[in-house]
């Protein structure tokens, strides 16, 4: 993409802001982990914060916020299969007896 120097200069400002936000969010997750929340809420908070951080990195540093259509398509496909992959544990847990042999 033929971006002009002043566009880039604007980008740079954004990068700095994102950097600051990421730092704050890092401290937030670490801080929250000392609150002794129940495991369920701890997972939710941690994943929520991580998702925000991840999206910021993807959107601004990787410029996904303003990317070509075909990349969105590739990623949409990947996300679909990623979700399928993430379903594996639930497959195992809900399938009842005789599957997880722990003891």
């Amino acid at each position: 993409m033929a971006e002009h120097a002043h566009d880039i200069a604007k980008h740079v400002k954004v990068y700095i802001v994102i950097f600051a936000v990421l730092m704050v969010l890092t401290l937030v997750t670490v801080g929250v982990s000392y609150l002794e929340l129940s495991i369920m809420s701890a997972v939710i908070v941690a994943m929520f914060v991580a998702s925000i951080k991840g999206s910021l990195v993807a959107c601004y540093f990787m410029h996904l916020i303003d990317e070509r259509k075909i990349i969105y398509w590739v990623l949409a496909l990947t996300v679909f299969f990623f979700i399928v992959l993430m379903a594996i544990p639930s497959l195992d847990v809900h399938s009842g007896e005789g599957v997880v042999v722990n003891r």
């Binding site: 990947t78 299969f81 594996i88 497959l91 042999v101």
Partner: protein, 589 residues
């Protein structure tokens, strides 16, 4: 760049470390053919033990038993010790080695490298009018990493612990505790890396480097097949790579990702942390391995489509529905994997879900096959050698596909699971199916790659021998399996139900050896035609697709003029010239 052509690269740069997709394609194809032959030899040895349990293997048994002599060199001794007894018959462990390595080599080192690495690499860029792959160096790296993986697999035979014994599926906990598996895992990680490099390259090439005018719906079906295959490789292989890394950790770092608590090995509780889950491996393995069967079959369908269109002299019937079916097939292949795991005690909901998706995925396969059959309708077929192979593919793939349906239904699978029925089913898909299609491809594109045609007479001998004996090998397996004979069984005569059908096993074994003999005309033909074959012109089959509009064999850069595409891929017998055809490409001089 404008600096790097018009110079004469040396022999090594031109034929060994070449970045030209045509050379790499041929390297892939030749290596894969050698591996296919090797994998087949392993199977011929196994078939002897099955047919004549506990007897000395002719010739090879004696040779190997001779190497058992402690004076022989270490490597040969290792090989022999892992396979045969001092009387020259196959050991049970040796049987397991041969079975596991046959499966692994056939799938990952034989069929896929030939279909994707060989044909895909050689033909696809030509068919889309590209000068080369988008990343030629990556392409070369992909071949060399593949070769390294293959060598690791081969070397494992000669190490003290022997080659892997746990089947191509490598189910833990057995795979984690049996010898030889570490090399298998290292080899697999290399093979997976190679195919990831390849698939990125294929996708970018197809999206970016199509010739002017070559829209997606003017692509030959073969290119579509390669395109979908590349996505399967790209997204399904990484989970197996992850699983391979986890299993490698279990073996070398003493973790217990797949090891349940309290596992007793050789009368002792294994000293590991435990709490692992063997089924995790199965999920990750089949997450790859079901899409993998489409990797085995889609390129074959692509080849058959090309050959059929060319020899019926008609456009393919239902080209678009074939394309949509292929895409749908690729998509669905990610959500059927657990039909390999009905017997693991999964819940009813899950089993219903996977039965349903499995039944759904059979629909697009049937559509493709039907379209191909209907394409034959009302044409005056040219029965060339490639066409014979392509035609035989149709019924044999149909048998393979239809016998799969009962396996996708949990109730029937209770009886059939892990029997020879399964072996029969998937071999009809991959051997009489894919292998026949790959042979069709070899006879079809050989003139383009070498400038000479293969001999027709030898081709006919090869075809009829293969056709008859492939069926002789695999048809009995259905009956054996329905009689309850388990797969991966060293000696079925030890069981009443097995002994009762031993004659079928013998038939299958004799079929396999005759099949071996039937390959002799092919081997002669393949080499002799290089020098003695009839000279082929640029377009010996009078075909339409782009690879036939360049010189034979194609020069570096593939095309002498910039190709511009003016029509669809199969404009045979157009209204204005019923006996002719319209090539896709016009020269844009």
């Amino acid at each position: 760049m404008s600096t790097d052509h018009h110079h004469n690269p040396g022999f090594i740069a031109k034929y060994v470390f070449s970045v030209d997709h045509k050379v790499i394609g041929i390297q892939y194809a030749v290596t894969a053919l050698l591996f296919l032959f090797f994998g087949f030899c392993l199977m011929m040895m196994m078939r002897f033990q099955l047919a004549y349990p506990g007897e000395e293997i002719p010739v090879i048994g004696g040779l190997l038993a001779g190497a058992l002599d402690p004076d022989t060199g270490g490597f040969l001794h290792n090989l022999a010790a892992s396979l045969v007894s001092s009387d020259g018959f196959l050991l049970p462990e040796g049987y397991n080695v041969l079975g596991a390595m046959h499966g692994t080599i056939m799938v990952f080192l034989g069929v896929v490298p030939l279909a994707v690495g060989g044909f895909g690499n050689y033909v696809m860029p030509l068919q889309i009018g590209a000068p080369d792959m988008a990343f030629p160096k990556l392409n070369m790296a992909s071949y060399w990493v593949f070769l390294a993986g293959g060598i690791v697999m081969l070397v494992s035979f000669f190490l003290p612990q022997g080659a892997a014994q746990s089947g191509w599926t490598s189910y833990p906990p057995l795979s984690v505790i049996s010898p030889g598996q570490t090399m298998w895992l290292i080899g697999m990680v290399l093979l997976i890396t190679s195919s990831l490099l390849g698939s990125v390259n294929f996708i970018v090439t197809i999206i970016h480097l199509r010739a002017e005018g070559l829209s997606f719906f003017r692509l030959p079906f073969f290119v579509w097949a390669q395109f979908v295959t590349a996505f399967l490789l790209l997204l399904a292989f990484p989970p197996l790579e992850a699983a391979g890394v986890l299993q490698l950790m279990d073996r070398v770092a003493g973790t217990s990702f797949f090891m349940p608590t309290g596992l007793v090995v050789a009368n002792e509780v294994l000293n590991v942390a435990g709490e692992g889950n063997p089924l995790l491996w199965q999920h990750l393995f089949w997450f790859l391995a079901h899409p993998e069967v489409y990797v085995l079959i889609l390129p074959a369908l692509g080849i058959v489509a090309e050959v059929i269109a060319n020899n019926t002299r008609k456009p393919l019937w239902g080209y678009r529905s074939m394309v949509y079916s292929t895409i749908f097939l690729g998509f669905m292949s990610f959500i059927v994997w657990a039909h390999h795991m009905f017997m693991t005690g999964m819940g009813e909901t899950m089993s219903i879900f996977f039965q349903t998706t499995t039944m759904i995925i059979s629909v697009p396969s049937v559509i493709i096959l039907t379209a191909l059959v209907i394409s034959l309708w009302g044409s005056s077929i040219r029965f060339t050698v490639p066409m014979l192979f392509a035609l035989s593919f149709l019924p044999m793939f149909a048998i393979g596909g239809l016998t799969g349906l009962p396996l996708g239904l949990a109730a029937a699978d209770i009886h059939l699971h892990d029997t020879y029925y399964v072996i029969g089913h998937f071999h009809y898909v991959v051997a009489p199916g894919t292998l026949m299609a790959l042979f069709a491809g070899i006879y079809y594109w050989y003139p383009k790659a070498t400038g000479r045609k293969m001999n027709t007479m030898l081709g006919h001998m090869h075809f009829w021998g293969s056709f008859i004996f492939l069926n002789a090998v695999f048809m009995p397996m259905f009956f054996q399996g329905m009689a309850g004979v388990s797969r991966r069984l060293y000696d079925q005569t030890l069981y009443y139900h097995g002994d009762a059908v031993q004659s079928l096993t013998r038939m299958s074994s004799w079929g396999a050896w005759c099949l071996g003999i039937a390959q002799i005309p092919f081997i002669i033909n393949f080499f002799a035609s290089l020098w003695m074959g009839k000279k082929a012109n640029d377009n010996p089959w009078e075909a339409t697709t782009l690879e036939w509009s360049t010189p034979t064999p194609p020069p570096h850069g593939n095309f002498t003029t910039v190709p511009v595409v003016v029509c669809g891929p199969y404009e045979y017998s157009p209204p204005d010239k019923p006996d002719g055809f319209t090539p896709q490409m016009t020269a844009n001089a």
